[in-house]
C-alpha cells in the first residue's frame, strides 16, 4: 500500500513536470525541424529529420558576437556585484556603524524599483558622460539588480558565522581586511557562488538596459539580438527557436550544476 502510494506520487510528479516544462522541450525540438514540418497541420513531437541548418544560419547571422557580448556584460556585472556586495554584506553583519538600518532598507527598496524609473535619467546622464554605446551602460545598470539581492542574502549568511573565527584570526595578527579575505571569504564560498550565479542570470536576461543604452548592434547581448531578429526572421520559427535555445543554454547548464544551492539561496534571499 505504502509502496503503491509512493509510486503514484512519483509518477504524478514526473507527469506534472513534463507538462509544465513542455514549452522548453518544444523550443528545443523546433530548432531542429525544417520549415515545412513546422507548418504541418498535425504537429510532430519529434523532428522527422533532424536538421542543424537553423543553428548554422543563426551563427552566420552574428549570434556568436551576441553570445560574446552577453558573456561580457553578465560576467563584468557579476564581478562588480561581488566586489561591492560581499564586503558590504560583511560590514553590515559585523560592524556597529551609524545608519545601518537605513542602509539595509535602501537595499530592500532598490530591489523593488522598476527599471523604467531610472531609464530616462540614466540615458541623459550616460549621454553626457559619453557612456552610451559602450559596455558600461548595461554593465553598471545590470549590477544594480544583483547588488541589493546579494547584500541581503550574504548578510544573513555572515550573521550565522561564529565570531570566534575572526577573533582567533585577529590574535594571530591578521588585520580586519586580511581576516576577511583569508578566513571569511573562503568559508562563505558556497553562498558567494549562489549570489554570483543569480547576478549572472539577472544580467544575462536583461533586455531593456542594453536596448536603451546601446544603439550599436555590435554591443548587443543575445536578448536584444533576438528581439531584433523577431522582425527580420518573420515566421522562420526554427531559426528563432535555435536562437532561443542558444540563449538559454548557459542558464540551464549553470542551473544543473548548482541546483541545490541555488534553490536554498533563492528562498533565503527573498523572504528576508
Amino acid at each position: 500500500m505504502q509502496r503503491r502510494k509512493e509510486w503514484m506520487l512519483n509518477s504524478l510528479g514526473i507527469l506534472f513536470v513534463l507538462i509544465f516544462l513542455f514549452p522548453v522541450y518544444w523550443m528545443i525540438i523546433t530548432a531542429f525541424k525544417s520549415q515545412s514540418e513546422i507548418f504541418q497541420s498535425t504537429p510532430t513531437f519529434w523532428p522527422k529529420d533532424f536538421q542543424f541548418t537553423s543553428f548554422i544560419d543563426i551563427f552566420k547571422d552574428n549570434v556568436g558576437q551576441y553570445f560574446l557580448n552577453s558573456f561580457m556584460i553578465a560576467g563584468l556585472a557579476t564581478i562588480l556585484v561581488l566586489v561591492l556586495a560581499v564586503p558590504s554584506a560583511y560590514g553590515l553583519a559585523r560592524f556597529k556603524v551609524k545608519g545601518k538600518n537605513p542602509m539595509i532598507l535602501l537595499f530592500l527598496v532598490t530591489q523593488m524599483l522598476p527599471a523604467t524609473v531610472i531609464l530616462t535619467p540614466l540615458f541623459i546622464v550616460f549621454n553626457n558622460l559619453s557612456l552610451l554605446n559602450t559596455y558600461w551602460g548595461p554593465v553598471l545598470t545590470c549590477a544594480t539588480l544583483g547588488v541589493p539581492f546579494s547584500v541581503l542574502i550574504l548578510r544573513t549568511f555572515f550573521l550565522g558565522i561564529p565570531k570566534e573565527l575572526e577573533e582567533a584570526a585577529s590574535i594571530d595578527g591578521c588585520g580586519r581586511f586580511r581576516t576577511f579575505i583569508r578566513v571569511i571569504v573562503p568559508i562563505s564560498y558556497p553562498s558567494i557562488v549562489v549570489c554570483a550565479a543569480i547576478s549572472f542570470f539577472f544580467s544575462w536576461g536583461d533586455l531593456i538596459f542594453s536596448m536603451t543604452f546601446n544603439r550599436n548592434q555590435d554591443l548587443w547581448p543575445l536578448t536584444a539580438g533576438i528581439y531584433n531578429a523577431i522582425g527580420r526572421y518573420g515566421i522562420e520559427w526554427n531559426d528563432l527557436m535555435a536562437f532561443a535555445t542558444v540563449s538559454v543554454l548557459p542558464v540551464i547548464v549553470i542551473f544543473v550544476i548548482l541546483q541545490k544551492q541555488l534553490v536554498k539561496g533563492l528562498v533565503s534571499g527573498s523572504i528576508k
Binding site: 558590504s88 540615458f123 544575462w204
Partner: protein
C-alpha cells in the same frame, strides 16, 4: 580607533554609494524631469524650463494612458492570483514525502530562470493562430473549432500575456510556499488527525491560517514584481493590438525612447513608481511587524 572606523566604512560604503549613484540619483532626477519640458531638442540646447504639472495633465489626455493603468492592474491581479493558487496547490503536492519531490520541485525552477525575452518569444510562437501548438492541440482534441487569435484579438491578448507570466511565476511562488509549509509544526496535524479532521478541514482550519504571514509576503512580493512588467509585454505584443496590452512601463518606454518626449515618459514612470512605493511601504511595514512579533 579612528583608523578602524574608516576601515569599516570602506567595507560598507562602496556598495551603498554605488546604489545611491545609479538608483537614488536617477530617481530624484526622474521626478525633476517629470516637472520640466525636456525632449530631444531641449536636450541638445540645454533649455530645461519647468512646466510643473503640465506633463501629468498631458499624460491624462494621452491616447492609451488610462487603459495602460487599467491593464497594469488587471495584469498584476490576474497573474498574482493564479500564480499563488497554483503555486500553493503544487507546494501542497510536493510537501507530501516522496522520493523525487525535492528534485522535481527544483527542476521546475527552469521556467523562472529563462530570460523573459526568450519566454515571450516562445509563447508568441506557441500562441500563433495557425502554426501555434496551443491551437493545434485544442483543435486536435475538439475543444475549439476555430483557432483562437491569442495575440491579435484585443479582447484576449492581455490574458494571453498573463498566461505566459503565470507560467514564469509559478515555481517561485511554489518555492516560497513550500518553505513556509515545511516550517509548520507537525504536532498540530497529529492531534487534528486524532480528533478525526479530514484533509479539507486541516487545509482550511490549520494550514491556511498558520500560513497566513507567508501567504501575505508572497502576495505582496508577487504584486511588486509583476506590477513593473516590461519585457514580457514588450516582446510578445509591444502593447498592441490597439493599446489592448499597453501597461505603464511600456507606455513610459514608448514616450521616452520612441517619441523622445523624455519628460512625458518620466511622468508615466513616476506614476508607476508612486504606486509601487506605496505597496512596498506596506510590505516593509508587514515584514517589520513580523520580525518584532
Amino acid at each position: 580607533m579612528k583608523k578602524g572606523r574608516w576601515g569599516e566604512y570602506l567595507f560598507i560604503y562602496p556598495a551603498v554609494i554605488f546604489m545611491l549613484l545609479l538608483i537614488g540619483y536617477p530617481l530624484i532626477y526622474n521626478i525633476i524631469l517629470s516637472f520640466q519640458d525636456v525632449d530631444l531638442n531641449s536636450l541638445a540646447t540645454g533649455d530645461k524650463h519647468f512646466v510643473w504639472f503640465d506633463n501629468y495633465k498631458a499624460l491624462a489626455d494621452q491616447d492609451g494612458f488610462g487603459i495602460s493603468v487599467w491593464n497594469t492592474i488587471v495584469y498584476t491581479l490576474g497573474s498574482v492570483v493564479f500564480q499563488v493558487v497554483i503555486g500553493f496547490l503544487l507546494a501542497l503536492f510536493f510537501s507530501m514525502k516522496f522520493k523525487l519531490a525535492s528534485f522535481l520541485r527544483g527542476v521546475v525552477m527552469i521556467s523562472w530562470l529563462i530570460p523573459l525575452t526568450i519566454t515571450a518569444l516562445l509563447y508568441k510562437f506557441m500562441m500563433g493562430s495557425g502554426e501555434g501548438i496551443f491551437n493545434q492541440m485544442l483543435m486536435g482534441i475538439g475543444f475549439i473549432d476555430d483557432p483562437i487569435q491569442w495575440l491579435s484579438n484585443p479582447d484576449i491578448a492581455l490574458w494571453s500575456v498573463i498566461i505566459a507570466n503565470i507560467w514564469v511565476g509559478i515555481p517561485f511562488n511554489m518555492l516560497l510556499l513550500s518553505t513556509g509549509l515545511s516550517n509548520l509544526p507537525e504536532d498540530v496535524y497529529e492531534s487534528a488527525s486524532l480528533d478525526g479532521a479530514n484533509w479539507f478541514q486541516k487545509l482550511f482550519k490549520i494550514t491556511i491560517p498558520l500560513l497566513r504571514p507567508v501567504l501575505l509576503v508572497v502576495l505582496m512580493l508577487g504584486f511588486i514584481y509583476t506590477f513593473k512588467v516590461f519585457d514580457l509585454v514588450f516582446v510578445m505584443t509591444g502593447g498592441g493590438p490597439i493599446n489592448s496590452t499597453e501597461v505603464l512601463s511600456t507606455i513610459a518606454y514608448r514616450l521616452s525612447f520612441n517619441e523622445f518626449q523624455f519628460s512625458l515618459g518620466a511622468a508615466a514612470a513616476n506614476i508607476l513608481f508612486i504606486i509601487l512605493l506605496f505597496v512596498s511601504v506596506i510590505y516593509l511595514f508587514m515584514i517589520n511587524k513580523d520580525e518584532e512579533a
